[in-house]
């Protein structure tokens, strides 16, 4: 008995270990997305605050008793206080003893001898203006050493109870407050709404076109025997291994010849004749048993009818896989749009281009860049979640066989 319980305890330990590892990796994979979503809702100064925080924070405001406007809240000596106003505070010292400093608000001091004929004193070989500074009821002429801004902080319930403190080093009181307006702003900033519509159009056309040509080609390669077919199919498979890099220059020249440079057409038509799609659909069609079509053949149905009435309805998984794959490809493609669409032609930008430009232009407002990223990423992730059933299981297996 002891042996059994020992092995069970070991299995439990193993399972816990497994979950710990999987969760850690999951955190590594997920954490950057959490940063993006949080960042996309942050105000500009919040995203530059250190240490970084995941949630979007903003300083709490509160309207003090008898006040009219909400004022920012700070924590001073353990008490929450609102910042009523800021005063310029100047540190003065007598010209003959710079160590004996006095700090007073700037508006309590007047220039010695009046504004027009201000007297001066020479300190360390430098001529400095003199000010009449009130010290213990007396007025002493002094020179300015330095000046800072101090805040006047009041208790919200008792506005007459004030203390002065340095604003910059004061501890702010923050609350979670998402800035939804970032999304509206980023849509305007880089005409991201137009890119979104362009991307949707290009993606729909690429997916639709690829599925159509792949179904036709895949059917011929799977079911219609004609001379040269198998050689042609081998060339097709081989072409999948050819990297896109090699086509960049000649395709660009072809676009110049056709007058499609800078045009959405360049993003659509070169990509709808797809060897990979033909291959994928063909592999699925080959696996469909022949008896299914034999009755239709005996009835004299044409190949066209057999394809659309028998093969296509049976091939939902393969078509969904191909559609998802092409969707992700078209939505995320960057190299080709970057080359063929002019950087200045904002009208014809797709999302990846706009994002790339936004990353450069809005480098000082990463919160807006993140909002753009969220907009760009939310669609493929939604499609992935919806199509996961087909995609994860099929793209993997059909890509291998």
């Amino acid at each position: 008995m002891a042996v059994v319980s020992g092995s069970r305890r070991r299995r439990t330990a193993q399972r816990v270990g497994l979950y710990v590892v999987l969760t850690l990796v999951g955190l590594v994979m997920f954490f950057p997305f959490a940063v993006v979503v949080g960042g996309s809702l942050k105000a500009r100064d919040d995203i530059f605050s250190y240490p970084p925080r995941l949630l979007p924070y903003q300083q709490t405001t509160q309207t003090p008793a008898g006040g009219e406007e909400p004022l920012p809240v700070f924590e001073i000596d353990g008490q929450e206080r609102v910042l009523v106003r800021q005063v310029q505070v100047v540190t003065y010292a007598p010209p003959d003893d710079l160590e004996a400093t006095v700090t007073v608000p700037a508006d309590e001091v007047e220039p010695t001898g009046g504004f027009t004929e201000q007297e001066t004193a020479v300190v360390d070989g430098e001529e400095l203006p003199l000010f009449d500074v009130p010290v213990d009821g007396q007025v002493v002429p002094m020179v300015e050493v330095r000046s800072t801004v101090e805040g006047v902080f009041a208790l919200p319930d008792d506005p007459d109870n004030v203390v002065r403190a340095n604003v910059r080093t004061a501890q702010t009181v923050d609350e979670v407050s998402p800035q939804w307006s970032n999304f509206r702003e980023v849509l305007r900033l880089q005409s991201l709404d137009r890119s979104l519509s362009n991307t949707a159009l290009v993606t729909i056309l690429v997916v639709g076109g690829t599925v159509l040509t792949s179904i036709l080609g895949g059917y011929a390669f799977a079911r219609i025997r004609f001379p040269g077919r198998d050689a042609m199919f081998l060339v097709y498979i081989g072409s999948i291994m050819v990297p896109f890099v090699i086509l960049i220059i000649p395709l660009y020249q072809l676009m110049v010849t056709l007058g499609w440079v800078d045009s959405l057409a360049a993003l659509v038509f070169p990509f709808v004749f797809n060897a990979y799609g033909t291959f994928l659909i063909r592999q699925f069609f080959v696996s469909i048993p022949k008896d299914l079509e034999e009755a239709a053949v005996l009835d004299g149905a044409s190949q066209w009818t057999i394809l659309w009435r028998i093969f296509v309805p049976l091939s939902t998984p393969a078509i969904a896989t191909l559609s998802t794959f092409m969707f992700l490809y078209a939505w995320n493609s960057f190299v080709w749009p970057f080359i063929v669409i002019n950087a200045g032609n904002v009208e014809n930008h797709v999302l990846t281009l706009s994002l790339q430009q936004l990353g450069g232009r809005a480098a000082d407002t990463p919160n807006l860049v993140f909002a753009g990223v969220v907009i760009a990423v939310i669609v493929p992730i939604t499609v992935f979640v919806l199509a996961q059933r087909y995609f994860v299981e099929n793209v993997a297996t059909s890509g291998l066989k």
Binding site: L264, E347, F384
Partner: protein, 538 residues
């Protein structure tokens, strides 16, 4: 019936003779004029010669009542139809009209959403668990939504423009070509013509097969095979994309690949003229004519050497862990997969912020980790490293590697998971009976069983890694050349190709870069393939 077919065959013969004459005339005109130059001219001449020869063959074949005549006739007329159809679309500006559609498309999005929802309501054709009424209603709604979509995005004004542009001499000529080509193709496909020339069932299938593959194959030729050959041709030329290409043979390749090795004497290395120092190993100095190209090559080799194992090996272990039947696996799998579908630009922008040297999360986490380290007893005091991830030339390439691995580990995990599910479970059980422990089973059953998957995973990751571009360009957008990073430390061959081809407009040189990279990728894939084969043998 047969009389009609004979009359048609006679008419077709005349038509093909006329076509052959016209095509030959076109070739003569093209050869006589040299205003049209380059690949376009060659392609046009080739197409016309093919059209003339095929037409002659069709006429002769039809006269001899042979099937080949019918086949050629169908091919020629079909191509005529297609060329005129695409030509009319291009002439009327339908392709470039997509830009205008991009503007009005926003108005159609609500209709599109309704149409998609309604289509889901029809149950994709199989309609499990949906009543017939629901399906019929959904279909109706989908049709209405599609019509609404077309109207909203401006179908009517578009069609009017199309009609107006067709009513020009060129437009009408193309329209006539479309009608004649389509009619003759359809007519020659009819059974009476087949009977007249004695087409067998097998031969009939050939025509159908060709028609089915034609859209794909023609597009493949136009947008893949043709450009591929053109690229090879261009790589042997000096070409600034505006003037005529100038044939320089292997000139581009020689300039790019020239290396020189000397020994360092008195701390100096002297190279022949035109060479610059690339780097030193001990007292040996390497010089190259194109230092930037060699830099890019070295960078990508270092990158691939680290990034490929880093995104494949963890994936193998993760897949093994995920393959056990514990609950929640699907959730983990989905989370791991998400980075690979987020897109290169989005991923790079995310990491750009994470890598920020002052307020970025990574350096902050390093501070936290150091605090934990220092809080532990018996460990030497440490200060938190704060690397300049994106501006330190020694680190920048490593930063790229992390981004790449993060992006593709999940994808590779899913591929491995599929491979694992294909391994016969009885092998594991047999090994267990032989007393093999977990590691031995992993080593001797799992890994050999995954060799095909491993080939696919390594090859596809390698192809992605060797073509690295987007990540560099987004992360190092401020450097010159764009994407080259601090001191060219993240300059990759594709980044260099972009610089040469589209900044300096030396498209011949850029093509040569592409071909060298292609050879590199091919060699890499081939080695992987050989290794897989050897393992099968052993």
């Amino acid at each position: 019936m047969l009389v009609e077919a004979e009359r048609l065959a006679a008419g077709l013969m005349v038509w093909h003779l006329l076509l052959a004459l016209a095509a030959a005339g076109g070739v003569v005109v093209l050869l006589g004029r040299d205003t049209v130059t380059g690949g376009g001219r060659l392609a046009a001449i080739a197409v016309l010669v093919f059209a003339a020869l095929a037409s002659l063959g069709a006429a002769a074949g039809l006269r001899a009542r042979r099937h080949v005549g019918r086949l050629l006739s169908v091919v020629v007329n079909y191509l005529l139809f297609l060329v005129c159809f695409v030509g009319l679309l291009q002439h009327n500006g339908v392709f470039t009209g997509l830009d205008a559609l991009g503007e009005t498309f926003t108005r159609g999005v609500p209709f599109l959403a309704v149409a998609v929802l309604a289509f889901v309501g029809t149950g994709f054709g199989d309609g499990e668990g949906l009543s017939a009424t629901v399906r019929r209603m959904s279909r109706l709604v989908a049709v209405v939504a599609v019509v609404g979509l077309l109207l909203a995005v401006g179908l009517v004004p578009g069609l009017l423009t199309f009609v107006r542009r067709t009513a020009t001499p060129v437009g009408l000529l193309l329209l006539v070509g479309i009608v004649i080509g389509a009619y003759l193709t359809w007519r020659a496909m009819q059974p009476d013509v087949a009977r007249l020339v004695g087409t067998t069932e097998h031969q009939g299938r050939t025509i159908t097969g060709l028609l089915f593959v034609s859209p794909n194959v023609l597009g493949f030729l136009a947008f893949f095979a043709g450009p591929l050959l053109f690229s090879l041709y261009v790589s042997f030329n000096a070409w600034d994309a505006f003037a005529d290409p100038e044939w320089i043979g292997l000139g581009n390749y020689i300039e790019m690949l020239s290396l020189d090795v000397t020994t360092v004497t008195d701390g100096r290395a002297t190279f022949p003229e035109g060479y610059q120092e690339l780097g030193r190993v001990g007292s040996v100095a390497f010089g190259a004519r194109d230092v930037l190209f060699w830099t890019s090559l070295l960078n990508i080799l270092v990158f691939s050497l680290v990034a490929i194992p880093l995104s494949v090996i963890p994936a193998l272990f993760l897949a093994t862990a995920l393959n056990s039947k514990v609950p929640g696996i699907r959730l983990f799998r989905a989370i791991y997969f998400v980075p690979s579908i987020a897109g290169v630009v989005a991923v790079a922008l995310i990491w750009k912020q994470l890598y920020d040297a002052t307020v970025g999360w990574i350096n902050y986490l390093l501070v936290l980790a150091t605090d934990v380290w220092n809080a532990l007893p018996l460990l030497p005091e440490a200060t938190a490293p704060q690397p300049q991830w994106l501006s330190d030339a020694n680190i920048a390439l490593f930063s790229l590697i992390i981004v790449f691995a993060w992006q593709y580990i999940g994808f590779n995990t899913v591929l491995y998971l599929a491979g694992l599910q294909g391994i016969d479970n009885s092998l594991h059980e047999a090994a267990m009976l032989d007393g093999a422990n977990r590691w031995q089973r992993f080593r001797n059953v799992t890994i050999p069983g995954l060799k095909e998957t491993t080939f696919f995973v390594v090859a596809s990751t390698g192809i992605l890694a060797l073509q690295l571009f987007g990540e560099s360009v987004v992360l190092f957008s401020r450097s010159t050349p764009v994407g080259a990073g601090p001191e060219n430390s993240t300059l990759t061959p594709v980044v260099y190709l972009y610089e040469q081809g589209f900044r300096r407009f030396d498209q011949g040189y850029a093509s040569a870069v592409a071909w060298v990279l292609f050879v590199l990728i091919f060699v890499f894939t081939f080695i992987q393939f050989q290794r897989q084969r050897e393992q099968v043998g052993g």
